[in-house]
């Protein structure tokens, strides 16, 4: 598959090797988050007039889901300010770490080295999201809690355990980073294998060992790599490449798929569907139940959400995969087949998230200009934009865009399912038909999901 190494450009190589560009962006993001926390906790409780709500859930979210994740994968994780204070404390410095580490530096427990806590964290946010998205104080407390948690975890565990195992946003970004046309890989894996010091992992004179605990030679997908580029600084052989590549190059890979990753796909897809129904749908009762966090109605809503996401959706998908195995004749381990086909949920889920986000991002983006002038809703007008009228952007074009994105996602998922089928069963003439048969129920599942999402958003 075609790749182009961006580091061939001396300018880009210098830019990525330097810690300053990343640090400056990270500090800018930190300032924005601190302002969002302060506005959330001390500003007006009116969400549409509070910087905390608009900057985070409209502007940042739009930049993340519509641009950063599809184009740069874990680009956001690269500049995310949440781990910045903790990492400073842990290392004893920002650019020049202290000789002796601070904190306990414990290894993350072996049993928890998976995505289940991240999945649970995201599910918890999802069932409370109507309150988080509308109440500035809750958003402020959440951001503060995330920075606090990242800092505490940095002081107890080694490296970026919070980002790798706990951060709910990181899980989301990691899953969909697989579609991005950018990847960090090694140029020659044999060279890495022969390199005894493994400075990319343990650190060396040029920089830190991989904060994400990744051995770059073992990278086959984008999800585990936080794009901090430390390995670029520590590799003595200049063996790291930052490639431009085709979209979704990670996705057809069937080997080594784990159920925690598969469930992340179910959770993300289920959340996109649930958000579309709850936040954009006409069902006031569900909306109210989702908003009344802590009440019996909310418990029923949360139970329904969790059952749909962790039971119904995976159950339906598993039935489709089982049907495919029946059609094509069972071969290989069912769990592995299920996990492999779950990769088809990635383009489907991303399309669902992008389409869902288009619904509210462009209709609410005009709220950004007033909150830039008056972040706390305190009656200020710093840039003369405080009294802007609400103006939905791209109004009539949004449904067409959504339909195009959802149908594109379906086509991508269908093509991917077929490729996964061929990888699992073989690509020769004899097995090709069986591969298509095995993949066809998964394509049917993707079709139904797309129709449901189209109905929720446009119908």
């Amino acid at each position: 598959m075609t790749r182009f190494d961006l580091l061939r450009s001396p300018f880009l190589a210098r830019l990525l090797r330097s810690r300053w560009p990343r640090l400056i962006l990270s500090v800018a993001a930190l300032a924005g988050f601190v302002l969002a926390i302060a506005a959330g906790l001390a500003g007006t409780p009116v969400g549409s007039r509070n910087f905390g709500i608009i900057a985070v859930w409209i502007a940042w979210w739009a930049a993340l889901i519509l641009v950063a994740v599809p184009l740069a994968g874990r680009g956001w994780c690269s500049i995310c300010p949440l781990p910045l204070p903790g990492e400073w404390l842990q290392r004893g410095g920002i650019l020049a770490p202290a000789a002796r580490r601070r904190g306990l530096g414990l290894r993350w427990p072996r049993r928890l080295r998976n995505l289940w806590i991240q999945n649970a964290g995201f599910a918890l946010l999802a069932i409370s999201s109507t309150v988080i998205l509308t109440r500035p104080a809750v958003t402020g407390a959440l951001l503060l809690g995330l920075i606090g948690a990242a800092t505490v975890v940095s002081l107890v565990f080694e490296r970026r355990a919070f980002c790798k195992y706990l951060c709910p946003i990181g899980g989301f970004v990691g899953l969909y980073s697989q579609v991005a046309p950018v990847e960090l890989r090694v140029r020659d894996a044999a060279l890495c294998a022969a390199h005894r010091e493994k400075t990319c992992y343990v650190g060396g004179p040029g920089g830190e060992g991989c904060p994400w605990q990744v051995f770059p030679a073992g990278l086959t997908r984008n999800s585990p790599c936080g794009l901090c580029f430390e390995c670029l600084r520590t590799c003595p052989y200049d063996n790291i490449a930052v490639n431009l590549r085709p979209f979704g190059a990670d996705l057809p890979r069937p080997a080594g798929r784990r159920l925690d990753e598969a469930f992340k796909g179910f959770l993300m897809l289920g959340s996109a569907l649930a958000y579309s129904a709850v936040l954009l749908g006409p069902w006031g009762e569900i909306k109210l139940a989702a908003f009344r966090v802590g009440t019996p109605e909310w418990a029923a809503f949360a139970g329904g959400f969790l059952a749909a996401t962790f039971l119904a959706l995976p159950g339906a998908f598993a039935l489709h995969v089982a049907a495919g195995r029946l059609l094509a004749g069972p071969r290989g381990n069912f769990r592995e087949t299920l996990a492999s086909y779950s990769q088809a949920l990635v383009p489907l889920g991303l399309a669902a998230w992008v389409a869902f986000s288009l619904s509210f991002v462009f209709s609410n983006l005009s709220y950004l200009w007033p909150v830039l002038s008056d972040p706390f809703g305190a009656g200020w007008d710093l840039f003369g934009t405080a009294v802007g009228a609400w103006t939905p952007y791209l109004g009539a074009a949004v449904p067409t865009l959504q339909a195009g994105i959802l149908i594109g996602g379906l086509a991508w998922a269908a093509g991917l399912a077929s490729r996964i089928g061929h990888r699992l069963l073989g690509d020769d003439q004899r097995t090709s038909r069986r591969a298509l048969l095995q993949a066809s129920p998964v394509v049917g599942f993707a079709f139904v999901v797309t129709v449901v999402q189209l109905w929720l958003l446009i119908g």
């Binding site: 601190v34 001390a42 007006t44 920002i94 305190a378």
Partner: protein, 327 residues
């Protein structure tokens, strides 16, 4: 400066600058302390006006910075001609008021903001200033000794809505004692009907014709301007419960009375289109009900809100539900 120190400075500034900015923004505007009071509006279920009690010196300008923490509200001072101000979510409206006379003034919400809209009231106590507080005149229902809570059905009611136009078409001179504001305010339509019936000159008229004459008397006691003012007041303050046509079928009628602070078993809104009830009601009684409110029901008291002129305009308008004043 060493790069590490510069990096640390950057991170510290990244945290401190927004916090310092926040502190500056949230500090009260300089030089206006003491003269400016910030008032937050929330639906009654979440606290209503915050603060809901203000004490200010009489005769000194008071600037209120009004903002809403939830939905659109309106701010007005009761029994005054000052224009209502919209109070918008997350935005500020400023209003400068001067209370020349000491006394207790009520401010209230003028926008339909929720089921407890009527409970959104606050008071401004204007103190000192030398002038004496204005004393309220005795309301007519007290003067007449009317029991506002007693049922008041008319023993005889017309079969259809009496028509002032029909009454006028009869071309009859109405007795001077029944004409005019003083009689109208203190008598029910049924009493006027009885008085007309007792006069021999109307004996040839059927009951419906006499009721038409009553409607004419009632119409002649008011003005088109008062009716228009009453219509606007009714639409803004009463229609939500009593209904657009007075038939006790407003959008909030079903949530009465418990949700509006009344007892759960209290009666719903009065049917202002009921001939039996209205023909037995004196205007002074309706005036008193609006002024005092329905004790134990969801009916709010408008005494501190409406001027006497507004109260009477509203009373005059209420008769249009049971009498035809126009074609």
């Amino acid at each position: 400066m060493r790069p590490e120190h510069l990096a640390r400075l950057l991170v510290i500034l990244g945290v401190l600058l927004p916090l310092v900015g926040a502190a500056i923004i949230l500090l009260p505007p300089l030089g206006r302390n003491g003269e400016v009071i910030e008032v937050h509006a929330r639906v009654a279920e979440d606290g209503g006006w915050l603060p809901s009690e203000l004490v200010v010196p009489a005769g000194t300008p008071l600037t209120l910075r009004l903002t809403s923490d939830d939905v659109v509200h309106g701010f007005a001072i009761g029994r005054s001609e000052t224009q209502a101000v919209d109070v918008l979510p997350g935005q500020y409206s400023e209003l400068t008021l001067t209370f020349d006379r000491p006394g207790r003034y009520t401010y209230y919400c003028t926008r339909w903001c929720g089921p407890g809209h009527w409970r959104m009231r606050g008071t401004i106590e204007a103190q000192g200033g030398g002038a004496t507080p204005s004393s309220a005149a005795e309301p007519p229902y007290v003067r007449l000794g009317l029991d506002l809570d007693a049922p008041h059905p008319a023993p005889v009611v017309p079969e259809r809505r009496p028509s002032a136009i029909g009454g006028e078409a009869l071309g009859i001179d109405l007795p001077a004692g029944l004409r005019g504001r003083a009689y109208y305010e203190t008598h029910s339509p049924y009493q006027a009907f009885q008085s007309l019936r007792e006069q021999g000159s109307f004996s040839r008229l059927g009951d419906e014709r006499v009721w038409d004459l009553v409607a004419l008397l009632w119409r002649q006691a008011t003005t088109a301007r008062a009716l228009e003012a009453g219509r606007a007041l009714y639409a803004q303050n009463c229609a939500a419960c009593h209904g657009e046509g007075g038939g006790a079928d407003g959008v909030m009628a079903t949530s009465l009375p418990g949700s509006l602070g009344g007892a759960d078993d209290a009666p719903g809104p009065a049917d202002l289109a009921s001939l039996e009830s209205m023909m037995g009601a004196r205007p002074a009684l309706l005036h008193g009900k609006i002024l005092r409110g329905g004790m134990g029901t969801g009916m709010p008291y408008f005494g501190p809100i409406f001027t006497d002129g507004q109260l009477w305009s509203l009373v005059d308008y209420l008769w249009t539900f049971t009498m035809e004043y126009e074609e």
